[in-house]
Amino acid sequence: MADFVNHILTLEDSWIGYIVAALVAAVLILHVVAVGALLFIWMERKISGRIQDRLGPTRVGGKFGWLQTLADGIKLIAKEDVTPDLADKFLFKIAPYVGLAASYAAFIALPFADGVVGQHVNTAVFFVLAVLGLEVFSVILAGYSSGSKWSLFGAMREAAQVVSYEVPLGMCVVVPVMICGTMNLTTIANMQAGFFTNWLVFNDPFTFLTAIVYFTCATAGVNRAPFDLAEAESELVAGFHTEYSGLRWSLFFMAEYSSMFIVAALASILFFGGSHGPIPIADVLGLLSLDNLGSSDPAFHVFNEDGGGFFASLNLEIAIARFLGVANLLLKGTIGVTVMMWVRWSFPRLRIDQVMTMCLKYCVPLAAVGFLGATAWQALDLPTGNSLMNSPRYSHHELWTADDSESAVEEASSNEVQTPHEDDTHAAAKAVKLKTVPVSVVKGGGR
């Protein structure tokens, strides 16, 4: 990207290209956070309205009231920024930014499609979970620094809840990592390409169970109803953000909605095929798609760096394939968020002891059963959802972890070289040697 910008500007390896490239990536992710929150808040109001047999917002911005959030935003900007007397002023002011920064940072490693990612992180799953875990930090800071008992109660509840739910959440995330043999989200998504039976949620009954437990724990982890004890308005006024007003208050909500989206997007990558649709339309029609393309292929790059002008160097087909991939992931993430809203307006809020019981007595054992069951399923080589459809592409992706025959290793090697972001061929070759050999050892061969 940086090279491309420099190419357009006819500069030679200039810092301007890097800055422009970084800005484009950062602003794009910021739009996912901000516009996403805008859309989701409107959706929440509409959905809650419909569930409660109301209309929801109808006036601002035409028939469906779709500009309601924007109007609210303008109102919030105009509000006075109040800081309580008893507050720890510095922490009080900085707390909302911490939460927003945490959920924004988690987007860095989230691949929207193969090749559309802020920064390729080899252990992306781990990174996203680690960064998302920091969001609770802002809640605790806000609760403590407000100098209000309601806020402190809310923050303490949130802390206890989030720390507990990280345990089953981590156990659920391990299952796709174990099946795919990688923590790279792009690879996990690519291994589910093809028909929807390849999705890990349909891999075996245990992954199905794990997906459900993951979604429950993720809902609790991002502090959504029925687990929204930190802001239980019937008991704690508004919980940790009781003392906040105006834009700072709205930053909490931006963080909440963007982390809702990110756990939903993570669910869709880990269990529901990521950027790959339920039916590989492009493949059926014989078009070029990200499914059948390695990233070392020159065609993989949307922009041909050494090409002539802008349009001459643009690979339209790849751009469309990527666009569809991103649309797929955004759609899946939005569906996940919609389910969370549906749950919120359908179930009553749990008590704090019920929340803990839910976690320790149900989610943890279920996650453990799912993990052990999925491991056993893999070890015993039982039929998976993939073998129902007998999709050839899945076996293609599976090769480098499954088969240890000589030709398979070779094929896997050629597959490996195509791994994204290996610009150093020597390192790539070394990585291949390292990677293909031990996998056969692990699997015991003959699979």
Binding site: N122, F126, F127, G133, L134, M183, A431, P438, V442
Partner: protein
């Protein structure tokens, strides 16, 4: 200084300076702050910047680990700091002069050891040809994970027996740490278990406790009920039974 002698823009250096400065700066913040919660907050920022340094060095797994374990751990520390000390008497920590002196001596001598070690390494003094320096990292966590399960992929090709011995990887330390953690977990669960109530008396607090116990163990008690009724005074599970004096 060699550090700044590099032609702008050298991004790696640029971000290194930013992350290093924040790490050190917030480290001083921890030292100089008197408020427990602010200290923990600065500590989190300092450790987070260290994670940034790891990411910069291409050690993504270690960086994520740093975030998960150190930053997450400090978070729990913060939670307990708030929970236990969110009162006026405890929230500010006054350090005595003698503590300052002692801490300076200990910390200063440790810092000296570190500095000697850091500047003692010859290769570190003058980085060779910085402009072409590239982070040579495979960015692969798989070999690391395999090494933890007992397969050292980097020594697989070795024919030398002495090196082959290292193929067992880090399975043993991994298992030891896991068992250790398991013991800690079981111990914590044991210490936090519901204590059996004994010596039920007529005062109100004991009755309240008994009520609580009954509410918590309703199902068990229902099962036990017939047994208790028929063998009153013999059941060990009956919380009313004064014979069972364990606690």
């Amino acid at each position: 200084m060699d550090l700044f002698a590099v032609a702008w823009p050298y991004w790696h250096q640029f971000f290194f300076i930013i992350f290093a400065a924040t790490a050190v700066g917030f480290g001083f913040g921890v030292l100089l702050s008197k408020n427990v919660v602010r200290m923990a907050f600065y500590l989190v920022l300092s450790l987070g910047s260290t994670a940034g340094l790891f990411f910069l060095a291409g050690a993504e797994f270690v960086g994520a680990m740093q975030l998960m374990i150190y930053v997450g751990g400090t978070l729990v520390l913060l939670i307990f700091g708030v929970m236990l000390t969110a009162q006026k008497d405890f929230i500010n920590m006054d350090t005595h002069t003698q503590d300052w002196i002692l801490a300076t001596i200990v910390g200063g001598s440790l810092l000296m050891v570190l500095l000697f070690a850091a500047f003692g390494a010859e290769d570190w003094n003058t980085p060779q040809d910085l402009t072409d320096a590239k982070v040579e990292a495979t960015k692969e966590a798989t070999p690391l994970g395999l090494a933890l399960t007992g397969i050292r992929v980097d020594t697989l090709g070795e024919t030398d027996d002495a090196v082959q011995g290292g193929k067992a990887g880090y399975l043993m330390p991994f298992i030891i740490v896991s068992v250790h953690l398991l013991v800690v977990l079981i111990g914590a669960a044991y210490m936090a278990r519901t204590k059996k109530l004994s010596h039920a008396t007529n005062d109100k607090s004991s009755r309240a406790k008994l009520m609580l116990f009954k509410m918590e163990h309703e199902a068990e008690l229902l099962e036990e009920e017939t047994y208790v009724v028929t063998h009153r005074g013999q059941s060990a599970l009956n919380p009313l039974d004064p014979q069972d004096d364990e606690n």
